[in-house]
Amino acid sequence: MTRDEHDWLDAEAGPVVRPYAVTRGRTNARTGGWAGGWGKATPIDLVAFVQAVDDTSTGMFLLPEHQAILDRAKTPVTVAELAGHLDLAVGVVRVLLDDLLQQRLISINEPDGAGRPDERVLKAVINGLRSL
């Protein structure tokens, strides 16, 4: 073939590295990531808060993406925001979070009583929106 073979790899083609390359092909988060299988375990919620644990002693080899998560999670941050800021698919982020969780480098706070905030919360949301 000519060198025109890869002409389709322009800026609009986006990244050509497969999303799960960063996890070395692992799509399975042991604690039940989205890619861990349908209905197997509850995936880490999109609005679960991730926080780095103040413990630097680890034997784990950290990928730059792991480190980026730890940096972002010094204060609580949601899974969805991590994925957005790191420009990684949510499924990939879940695998990385699982790694960090196994090493006790982060803690994850799943949303409470999913979807059923009480009336006090609903009123606070309405008042908060009004005063925006």
Partner: protein, 188 residues
């Protein structure tokens, strides 16, 4: 020392923004979010044009293929998250996860292509997720009355229909307030 996030994490409240392709979901999220909406966008290719129905949406050149979301801090304890659902049929598999734990949904409608929001209505009715229909009046043009839209969508009396301008912060705020008020009524 290990920190305990349960003492520091705010409470996350999740609202979905649904509706057909190109109806203004990303715009709506951007109008009220305190962060730039985070999203994955893909340029519409020729292949995409065949898949995505762009009839009547002449100016839209990109399509959101993942989800976009925004954030509104209500107070120190509560953070509201808006998730735009993928507008194309081939991304339906993402909906179940998005809908999990959602407080309610805004179904954004364009009266030029009202049928586009039928799948969203069906979905939330089946799941019994409280929702309202927000008619996006592009360029301030209100083509049909609220009652006409309600009849066309065959909605019951419970789900509100409101008019909005997805670009306008105040208008979008009002839509979200109307949704949360509706959720309170449904639950009472």
């Amino acid at each position: 020392m290990a920190s305990d996030p349960s003492e520091h994490s705010p409470m996350a409240v999740k609202i979905l923004i649904a509706g057909g392709f190109g109806v203004g979901k990303t715009t709506l999220v951007g109008a009220v979010s305190e962060i730039s909406p985070l999203q994955t966008e893909e340029i519409l290719t020729n292949v995409g044009v065949e898949i995505d129905d762009i009839t009547g949406v002449e100016r839209k050149t990109t399509t959101t293929v993942a989800m976009d979301f925004g954030r509104i801090s209500i107070n120190g304890e509560i953070v509201l998250y808006l998730f735009g659902t993928p507008g194309q049929d081939r991304f339906w598999f993402l909906w179940d996860e998005l809908a999990l734990g959602a407080l309610g949904a805004v179904v954004l409608a364009d009266t030029r292509r009202l049928t586009d929001c039928f799948p969203s209505l069906d979905y939330f009715e089946r799941r019994r997720t409280p929702f309202l229909v927000a008619v996006n009046c592009f360029d301030g043009v209100q083509r049909h009355s609220v009652d006409a839209v309600r009849r066309a969508l065959d909605l019951d009396d419970r789900s509100p229909v409101v008019l909005c301008d997805a670009r306008d912060r105040r208008s979008v705020k009002d839509v979200l307030i109307a949704l949360v008020e509706h959720v309170m009524v449904v639950r009472a």
